[in-house]
């Protein structure tokens, strides 16, 4: 395509936006609302994912060592566990340390056990992939000199199921919203096209190619998408700035953290912009198709 043709297409698309200012306003608002909802959903989803990951990563296997194990056996056991596939780290804690923790958690009454400690030496084991925790636990249980293995099986599985379910629901919601926005843009472009039907007809009659007719409308759809994404990008950034400013200090040292403001907000903004462009282009594509059959 020639450069001056491209310039012409750009001019045409801008002109058309100005000419149909009310329709432009309507569809840009519709896209704005949709992308705002999408943006907020993305914020929530990504942070839920982050929380889930943080919690998942915190899942540990507690391995109780048999009481009759010698010190040498315990050391042996440690290297055996570390060499198992899927094990990320092991942390040894003697029964004395375990008791100190208990006393810290539940109070001084427990300190009378110091005379006759009923606890076990314990390994805290983390799996590389939290979803593999169960497999790793089974492998450890098969080793010798192990009294018991605990990892809160039910709790973990429930958590994973809940989080996976949440992800799907969020995804479906976002897809439905995108579909709506696309429909709205395609409607706006259709109205623009109807208004310019005669022009298109004449273009086709004097031998303009389909792409020549199409491109200004596609550009127009793209501008609508971009215009519609500006406010959501701004609002989502403001909103997330507020949230992180509020939550970050309160979550220090907790098991989970929110995603950092940057670069996360740049990614979200880029995503919103890309979605705007995509639904704009696709929407206009859908409505031009049938008008080109002259």
């Amino acid at each position: 395509m020639k450069a001056r043709t491209l310039v012409r297409h750009f001019k045409e698309s801008f002109k058309s936006i100005g000419r149909n200012s009310w329709m432009t306003f309507a569809s840009v608002s519709a896209v704005t609302v949709t992308l705002l909802l999408v943006g907020v959903s993305v914020l929530i989803m990504m942070n839920l994912n982050k929380v889930a990951d943080d919690l998942e990563n915190d899942v540990e296997i507690k391995v109780f060592v048999s009481l009759d194990a010698e010190e040498e056996t315990v050391q042996n056991l440690e290297s055996q566990i570390s060499e198992l596939p899927g094990v990320e780290s092991t942390n040894f804690s003697t029964k004395e340390e375990e008791l100190t923790d208990l006393v810290l958690d539940f109070g001084d009454e427990l300190s009378l056990f110091e005379q006759n400690n009923p606890l076990f030496d314990v390994f805290y084991v983390k799996a590389v992939d939290p979803q593999q925790t169960e497999q790793v636990a089974t492998d450890i249980a098969a080793l010798e000199n192990i009294e018991n293995v605990e990892y809160g099986k039910d709790k973990i599985e429930k958590l994973f199921n809940f989080l996976n379910g949440g992800r799907y629901v969020g995804l479906i919601l976002i897809l439905a919203l995108l579909f709506t926005a696309m429909f709205l843009i395609s409607n706006t472009i259709r109205i623009t096209i109807v208004a310019r039907r005669r022009e298109i007809e004449i273009m086709k009659l004097v031998g303009a190619t389909n792409w020549f007719v199409r491109i200004p409308f596609i550009l127009e759809g793209m501008w609508l998408g971009i215009l519609g994404s500006l406010v959501p990008i701004g609002l989502v950034a403001l909103l997330y700035k507020e949230i992180t400013d509020f939550a970050q200090p309160r979550l220090t040292g907790e098991l989970f953290q929110l995603l950092e403001f940057t670069p996360f907000i740049y990614q979200v903004s880029a995503l919103i912009l890309m979605m705007g462009v995509f639904i704009g282009i696709w929407g206009s594509f859908m409505s031009i198709r049938k008008f080109l059959r002259v």
């Binding site: 086709k204 031998g207 303009a208």
Partner: protein, 228 residues
């Protein structure tokens, strides 16, 4: 220039518009297409610039096979053909000059060539002095002259006119006919569908009469042949 062999056209609603049409039109001819409404004239005309496709049969325009022509090749066909309509089909938001230039812009001609060529054809149709006016400021005859200028601005080999004088008063209609004659003299094939008995009977050219989707009469220098 134009060959049709057993061209048959049936619309999706079941109406048979052309029922095995055979015709040959040479380069440089001036042909009237006459016949009652609903006889198939419009379909015949529309096929030439591939707005409609034959359901069966063979059809060539300037050696382009209309029946098998791919959609993306249609623009190339239309650049060989100028079309003029009864309702002019001008863009009211564009000036006379812009309306004519539009036809060259959309086929991506060079701006310098566009300017030169547009002024040439506006001169030819006698509207050079009204280039900056808008279609609504012109009379019907002037508007039709603009649309003729637009149809010939890219120097097509064939000009197709569907009832070009249908909306014009008799005097203006004669002006338009004079213009057509001049364009034809310059070598352009003209195919004109019309109901204007007076014009056909006075400016004698080949007359093709279509009825019931068939050519019922094809006479060089013939008369209109219908009452009124």
């Amino acid at each position: 220039m134009i060959q049709m062999k057993n061209v048959y056209k049936k619309y999706p609603n079941g109406i048979v518009a052309l029922n095995g049409l055979n015709v040959e039109i040479e380069q440089g001819e001036f042909v009237y297409i006459v016949g009652p409404s609903g006889a198939g004239k419009s379909t015949f005309i529309k096929m030439m610039y591939r707005e409609e496709r034959p359901s069966s049969g063979q059809m060539f325009v300037d050696d382009i096979d209309i029946a098998t022509l791919k959609n993306r090749k249609v623009p190339m066909l239309r650049r060989q053909i100028g079309v003029v309509f009864q309702d002019f089909k001008l863009l009211t938001k564009l000036s006379v000059y812009e309306n004519v230039a539009f036809a060259l812009e959309v086929i991506e001609e060079k701006p310098a060539d566009i300017k030169k060529r547009v002024m040439e054809v506006l001169d030819l149709v006698g509207l050079k002095h009204k280039a900056k006016m808008f279609p609504t400021e012109l009379s019907g005859g002037e508007q039709q002259r603009v649309s003729i200028a637009r149809s010939i601005v890219n120097m097509p080999k064939v000009m197709i006119a569907d009832e070009p004088t249908g909306n014009l008063d008799p005097d203006t209609a004669w002006d338009i006919m004079n213009l057509f004659e001049r364009i034809n003299k310059a070598g352009t094939t003209i195919i004109m569908a019309t109901h204007n008995q007076q014009i056909v009977n006075t400016r004698r050219h080949r007359v093709i009469a279509i009825e019931g989707g068939l050519i019922v009469r094809d006479v060089a220098g013939g008369d209109y042949g219908y009452e009124g």
